[in-house]
Amino acid sequence: MSCQLAADNVLYANGLYRLVYDLVGTILPCWLSYVIAGLVMIFVLVNAVLLGAAVITWAERRLLGRFQNRVGPNRWGPFGLFQPLADLLKLLTKEDLTPDGADKPVFALVPILMVAPLVMMTAVIPFAENTSLAALNVGVLYILAVSSITSIAIFMAGWSSNNRYAMFGAARSVAVLISYEVPVVLSLLGVVMVAASMSLGSIVEAQVLPFFLVQPLAFFVFMAGMSAELNRSPFDVAEAESEIIAGYHTEYSGVKFALIQAAEFGGVGVVSAIAATLFLGGWSGPWSEYLGWLWFLIKTGAIVFLFIWFRATYPRLRIDQIMAVSWKFLLPLSLVNLAAVTLEVFLLRGPEGVLTTGDLGIMAVINVVVTVVAIWVFGNLIRDRVKFQARQPSDVVVPGVTTIEVH
């Protein structure tokens, strides 16, 4: 036992890290055990994300099959569970094309840049009590900062591919990402305010009542914003298959495409995990000391299911409508939420600045009402009334034919 991890290290609370660090530290110098333990952690994280992505692709394909009156992959392995494995094997052995005229270094960098932020985001998510790899005290801020890297990666992909469809996809995607960042950040502010902390662990602990009840508006805005940032339906303009082939990753093939796909589906998993942590109470639940990870997985799965459900149901919005939804609908909603929460926290909190369970209950009741009213009001305000009125029938109408007309 030659090395001692400093108590102020962000990884101090992590059992696995300490275990590896101590084990390696017995035979190797301290700095090396520091590095090796870090590498082990990275290995675990990358695998968690990629495995999660694989499971989500499988789940998506099965569930879409379910929604669409078919079976979905069921031949390879139990319930088709080996399907992602087959996909992966195939993509790994496929030729890796780089288009002529592409900006090669940038083109090659994109898949890495897509996956890296996901891995980094996973690092701060508490899977159960005290299991986050790094219990950062600025967790929410860190997640927001890291997640914006994706937009740069997407733009790099579109730019370097030397393909007009890719460029279309990239331009659309960046526009969407930037405008949805604003309402998402604002909606998270409310959460941070109630929890009085930016650390994800403390936010979970503060959720005596899950925050999707306390702040339904914030949850709504967050889910909408995140499905836009993940390019999921109904905001999937960046890779609108029926319009612009495959969007920004049109030119990618083989391993690079596999990574981009993994990043996409992994993104769904990570975002669902974050949503479960911030709004559904993460690992908290009955017997959470032992079953915290199970609660966490169940809640994440529920949100993944929600995303897949959206995808199977909704058509896509047009790019200008997406922008309108962000700026005219979600932004006001998040502001309303912020104002309401600020007032409530200001009025309800006790002398030492804490909110009791009763306070949260009162907030929940008020906020549910606020949510319904706000969504109704703004939903009616932004409805597009122009260009939509019945026109006069023209003189070419034939007399004497029984017709039915659109209402």
Binding site: D395, V396, V398, G400, V401
Partner: protein
Amino acid sequence: MAVREWAGQELSEALRRELPEAVEGFDETAAWVNPSQVGAAAIFLRDEPSLDFRFLNSITAIDYVEYFDVVYHLTSLKQQWCAVFKTRLYGRQDLSLPSVYQVWKGADYQEREIWDLMGVYFEGHPNMKRIMLWEGFEGHPLRKDFL
């Protein structure tokens, strides 16, 4: 309430009242129009309220080796009647007809198709490209002497 089909004689008389030089004759179903007068006849047929042929069903060309017939099928949606007029072009080279693109825009692709497959050129059509076949294809395949 079936659509009434005009006999050739009826249409030719209606045309003759306004455009005597355009009509060459008639047969059972159609009136024959002088090729150079097709444009004028088309405008008259569309705009005259008692005729009101605002809907162009189709344009067809038929190759009879010595000459080509071009057939126009018309309908009036309001009056519920149909009529046919034809025109005949002699020869095999450099055939051309006035385009009715400006009268019925529906003639656009059909005229291009006739140019592509039959080799009848339409004067005044803004875009006389080949429509079905590629540039550099030799000949006009629907002609009887093709292949």
